[in-house]
């Protein structure tokens, strides 16, 4: 991590007598953010991932205004005996550009678009939760050290060693269809966000703890301390601003992990309540009920959606890390 040397040209009292460039352009000091942006801009793979993410966000937000109702059945588009869609590639037609679902004839495009909403919603919010918890405990453990650190580090070890998937399946099975004043999918989504977020914070916590451990020994922290700054001030004003880099990078890398986890839970039948579309549930339906054989597209399309989304986030996250901290390249 780079040191917080945010000394801009305007602030220093001795303006360096830098030689004017041949083009006559003045050489300016650049902020860390600017440098990172410059580096990121050159990384077209990361930019590609970023553009895909933006498109995906737009689709998730505005797509449902455009596509048709994902819950409408079209039994006439299905071969009743074999249950697969009529026509090639899963029944692709002008009305159904990605074809239709086997057995029901529901429009695939709209189900994939609605599925993006669920995946992104759960992926983002659970990551936010994980980051908040992880940063909080990571900072405390790293800064205070001693027994506080020992306790928090052991708790994180326990969380990391936990058979998460098994626990999540059991928990979702135990919680009734309506509780905490919520019911149906609102309850399910909330629960999934909490389960996933609550179990992925130690990854963030460990990284932040490590960074804090090294940062707290730095001169600027000593300086702040010698000027009389106390714990909370140092944590929030001195340490946290220097941790935005890793927080941003690892959040971006945590999102796809959480999207995959949601897909896995939906695949195992403990995710979203049907008929709300979910990529994982579609994949599960295709594989576990044997639809992949009569209609391979039903497996390929949600699989591709998950794959591309996860890859886009990973590429963007990698690029972001390289841009913020070229040493790890």
């Amino acid at each position: 991590m780079a040191a917080p040397l945010e000394i801009s040209a305007a602030e220093s009292d001795t303006t360096p007598q830098a030689p004017e460039g041949l083009s006559g352009k003045r050489i300016e000091g650049r902020s860390l953010g600017q440098i990172a942006w410059l580096r990121l801009r050159r990384d077209w793979v990361a930019i590609g991932g970023g553009i895909f993410i933006i498109i995906l966000l737009l689709v998730a937000i505005f797509g449902p205004l455009v596509v048709q109702n994902p819950d409408i059945y079209h039994p006439n588009l299905i071969n009743p005996t074999f249950q697969g869609p009529n026509g090639a590639f899963g029944g692709i037609s002008l009305a159904h550009p990605l074809g239709v679902e086997p057995q029901t004839g529901r429009d695939m495009l709209s189900r994939v678009v609605y599925g993006a909403r669920i995946s992104l919603l759960i992926g983002f919010l659970s990551t936010v939760l994980a980051v908040v918890i992880g940063v909080f405990f990571g900072l405390i453990a790293g800064y205070f050290g001693g027994w506080v650190d020992t306790v928090i580090a052991r708790v994180m070890d326990v969380f990391l060693a936990f058979p998460l998937l098994v626990f999540a399946i059991a928990l979702v099975g135990v919680i009734p269809t309506s509780s905490f004043g919520l019911s149906g999918n609102v309850l399910r989504v909330t629960m999934l966000i909490f389960i996933i977020g609550f179990f992925s914070w130690p990854y963030m916590g460990r990284i932040i703890r490590g960074q804090t451990l090294s940062l707290r020994e730095r001169e600027f922290v000593d300086a702040a301390r010698s000027l009389g700054a106390r714990g909370p001030y140092i944590l929030l004003r001195e340490l946290l601003p220097n941790l935005w880099g890793p927080i941003l990078v690892y959040s971006t890398l945590l999102i796809p992990t959480n999207i995959l986890f949601e897909a896995a839970l939906s695949y195992l039948g403990v995710g979203i309540v049907p008929p709300t579309p979910s990529w994982g549930a579609m994949l599960s339906n295709a594989v576990q009920n044997g639809f992949y054989y009569i209609d391979p597209m039903y497996m390929v399309i949600p699989g591709l959606a998950i794959f591309l989304t996860v890859m886009a986030f990973n590429l963007f996250g990698d690029g972001l890390r390289d841009a913020l901290d070229p040493k790890t390249r």
Partner: protein
């Protein structure tokens, strides 16, 4: 009292495993006579005998994807085992071995005739054939029949079988021959060929109860030592055409002809193959491929071909496999129970009946072939008492009648619709799909449903089968299914619609909570007269249930069975919806 008949665990889920090429490890097959003598056609075994033959010899191979609950005839509740045990046992009564609905006919087996009821239906007397022998040569006596039934009371040792004798006979506290010092008093044996049952209340279907494998005779001396009690299933004492040669648990059963069996005393069974091999725990996709490639003759579970690749091959019209397949109704009906307490207004319930799209629900169950036929009645067509009627135009307007539904909604005072819960089992893919299909169809007329999924393990004990849970959670619609323990209207309808079967705390089978004086009286009337005279009552009850809109029938379930071309005398037993295993032979 009566429990659901089990159609082999887990077989309802289509196998997800890849279609393995059959590498033939599962059992020695019969002679490879691959030249079919006569042409066969699709569904041929539903109405006639395919490859009738008296040719003896060969090894008949059964494959089973799981294991039986028990091979002990007093301790099994699996439909395929009830079919299979006839190969090594005789009961007081049995079903006639003939194709079509003729197979629902009850005929005497070990008995010389149907039971004779006296004392207002409280005493039932059977005379048994004097010259039937056990596999050790001993003559079967009425005392042996009694001892067999006594065994079925020993629930701590033999827990799986049904409980009809305990409920119907006078001696409910008897604990079976292993625990009780004194014998059962409600069955008496005046002489070696007479057995008398003393009932607590008249029960006209008692002959059907005696067709359940629990009435198989057992010698008390056999039920001791190595093959006693729970280990009896390792070598059940045979009275049928075959006897156990070996049984390796979870792996294989081998049966060989019983030398003391006399075909004259047991006309419903045949002794054609010279050996029967029953392979257990065979992967379902391997079974399906074994059948096609002749490594196995019969898929014992009777739940049909599950592997998509094999299914598609069979369903392709004109293929050779197509001609060797049958698509029978298996006696299992799929319903949505409409709870009369949660949705008390008849018109609101009728709106649901009209609005439901029967085709999308049929597709959810697997379509017309592996799913089933669209149902318009409670009783399925292979049960005595079925009468076709179509009160809510399920057959004439299978996509639902939204106009009629809206009319009923206005009559109900909820023209814009209403909201109710829909319970289903999350681990049953077809039920999940059917629930979504119903939800989508009802939404078209404004009836909003919230899907409430439960695991199947506690579905009937804690959720859909617990009326107070149903009421507090507003579960107006509950998915379920039903198969009867014997093929007549009583066996099918009683638990679903008799007011006195509503259980208040869990395990309720009358999930609609039908408690209608007319229906209750019809059941009383039926119980008081011989079972062949109450045939006209069942359609009346069926119509009453439908008129109340208490049950929304989805499908009469069907299975896709493949009959190996080498197998002779193959036909579908109408009641079991699978091949009659007692008469099969090989070319």
């Amino acid at each position: 009292m009566r429990t659901r008949k089990l159609y082999g665990f887990g077989a309802l889920t289509a196998a997800a495993a890849l279609a393995l090429a059959a590498c033939g490890s599962s059992g020695s097959s019969s002679g490879n006579n691959s030249t079919p003598a006569a042409t066969t056609h699709y569904d041929q075994a539903l109405t006639g005998v395919v490859n009738p033959s008296t040719h003896k010899g060969g090894t008949l191979t059964f494959d089973e994807s799981s294991v039986p609950d028990s091979t002990d005839y007093q301790n099994t509740y699996y439909a395929f085992m009830w079919d299979f045990v006839r190969l090594y046992s005789m009961q007081l009564m049995t079903y006639k071995s003939c194709p079509g609905t003729c197979g629902d006919t009850l005929v005497p087996d070990l008995a010389t005739g149907p039971g004779v009821a006296s004392d207002h239906g409280l005493v039932w007397t059977y005379h048994i054939q004097p010259d039937v022998h056990f596999e050790n040569g001993d003559v079967v006596t009425s005392q042996d029949v009694k001892y067999g039934i006594e065994r079925s009371y020993a629930k701590t040792v033999l827990p799986n079988g049904p409980n009809y004798y305990q409920v119907l006979l006078k001696d409910p506290t008897y604990a079976g021959p292993y625990k009780s010092k004194t014998p059962l008093t409600s069955i008496t044996t005046p002489n070696a060929t007479t057995i008398v049952f003393h009932l607590a209340a008249p029960f006209s279907d008692f002959d059907y109860v005696n067709a359940i494998p629990q009435s198989t005779p057992v010698e008390q001396k056999w039920d001791t030592g190595k093959y006693g009690g729970a280990n009896f299933q390792l070598h059940p004492e045979s009275t049928g055409p075959y006897e156990f040669q070996s049984y390796t648990l979870n792996k294989q059963i081998v049966l060989v002809p019983n030398p003391h069996w006399n075909p004259a005393t047991d006309p419903q069974a045949k002794q054609l193959a010279s050996k029967l091999v029953f392979n257990l725990n065979v992967n379902q996709s391997q079974i399906d491929n074994n059948l096609l490639s002749n490594y196995a003759d019969i898929d014992a579970a009777g739940t049909g071909v599950q592997t998509a690749a094999v299914r598609d091959k069979i369903l392709t019209a004109g293929s050779t496999e197509h001609a060797d397949a049958d698509n029978p109704i298996n006696g299992f009906a799929r319903f949505v129970y409409i709870n009369e307490k949660v949705i008390p207004n008849l018109h609101c319930r009728e709106a649901i009946e009209y609005a439901a799209d029967k085709t999308t629900m049929q597709d959810a169950w697997g379509g017309p072939v592996v799913g089933g036929d669209i149902a318009s009645t409670v009783i399925p067509p292979n049960i005595i008492g079925y009468q076709k009627f179509d009160l809510y135009d399920a057959l004439s307007k299978p996509n639902g009648d939204d106009a009629a539904a809206k009319q009923q909604l206005s009559a109900c005072g909820k023209a814009s619709g209403f909201t109710t819960g829909l319970a289903y089992r999350t681990d049953r893919p077809q039920e999940v799909a059917a629930a979504q299909a119903l939800q989508a169809a009802l939404a078209q007329v404004g009836i909003k449903t919230t899907l409430d999924g439960y695991t199947s393990g506690k579905y009937y004990t804690d959720f859909a089968g617990d009326p107070s849970y149903v009421h507090t959670h507003d579960l107006g619609l509950d998915m379920g299914g039903w198969g009867a323990d014997w093929p007549d209207g009583y066996g099918f309808l009683d638990e679903l619609s008799n007011g006195n079967t509503i259980a208040t705390n869990g395990g309720n089978t009358n999930i609609s909570e039908i408690n209608d004086p007319t229906i209750n009286n019809l059941f009383k009337q039926a119980a008081g007269q011989p079972s062949d005279q109450d045939v006209s009552i069942w359609p009346q009850i069926d119509k009453d249930i439908m008129a109340q809109a208490a049950i929304l029938p989805m499908v009469y379930q069907k299975v896709l069975l493949y009959r190996n071309p080498n197998v002779t005398n193959a036909y579908v037993d109408s009641y079991y919806g699978m091949y009659n295993y007692a008469v099969l032979g090989l070319k």
